[in-house]
Symmetry: C2
Subunit: 135 residues, 2 copies
């Protein structure tokens, strides 16, 4: 099948499929006589794997490792577990960060009347006249 069909079937855009090939995430597979890339269901399967991993927030570099492990039948499930656990920890850290931001914003929003008057605790907070959560 052509790249467009593989894109549709996998949920990865044709643009991205070419990109993944360019950075060596997927192999430079077969070409037809006209130079068009040719894909089969295994390729689509792999693309879907990548797509799922992206949806879970794995970076392309992490996915590179995951793909290696996926292809390697002698792998250790410990390696996968470790990678995923580290990634989960990253996400949890990010959530905590965002929650801190959200809490501060909610506080500021609560204090700001939000009408036609110019005085605004949000701006005051940003300008450092109020307690602010650090980075």
């Amino acid at each position: 099948m052509q790249i467009g069909t593989a894109a549709e079937a996998s949920g990865v855009s044709a643009k991205m499929i070419r990109h993944y090939e360019a950075i060596g995430l997927i192999s430079s597979g077969a070409r037809r006589i006209n130079g068009y890339r040719d894909y089969d269901s295994r390729d689509v399967h792999e693309l879907r794997f990548i797509r799922s991993a992206r949806d879970l927030g794995f970076s392309l570099d992490e996915i590179r490792t995951l793909l290696d492990l996926w292809r390697n039948k002698d792998r250790n499930s410990r390696d996968v577990h470790q990678l995923a656990a580290r990634h989960l920890a990253d996400i949890e850290r990010k959530i905590v960060e965002l929650q801190a931001m959200a809490a501060t914003l909610r506080e500021l929003l609560h204090a700001c009347h939000g009408d036609a008057r110019p005085d605004c605790p949000i701006l005051a907070g940003l300008s450092g006249k109020t307690s602010m959560a650090g980075h």
Copy 2:
């Protein structure tokens, strides 16, 4: 004061101060005879404002608007409130997304024994053999 001092005082790196000037976020202020940028406490105050807003996750584009509102004494606190509320909603949406990812990851991690054996529900999940949370 020189850029390095302003950087230290504001928590914004010299590199970023130059960048903010280049993109017009802050004005191209005075230069000394030798071509060095010169800053005063008002500049530092503005940089700290930017820094705080960045810490709260505002984009430089949003900060551009916030700075305009901050400088404009005839502003409407409603505008600030609206901008901040929208930003808070963005953050909350992002938190929900990350929490969904984390939940799926935790499920997969829970199912994966993570030892020397090769079979791994995490890889199976990514390859689509298990229920996965969509994007």
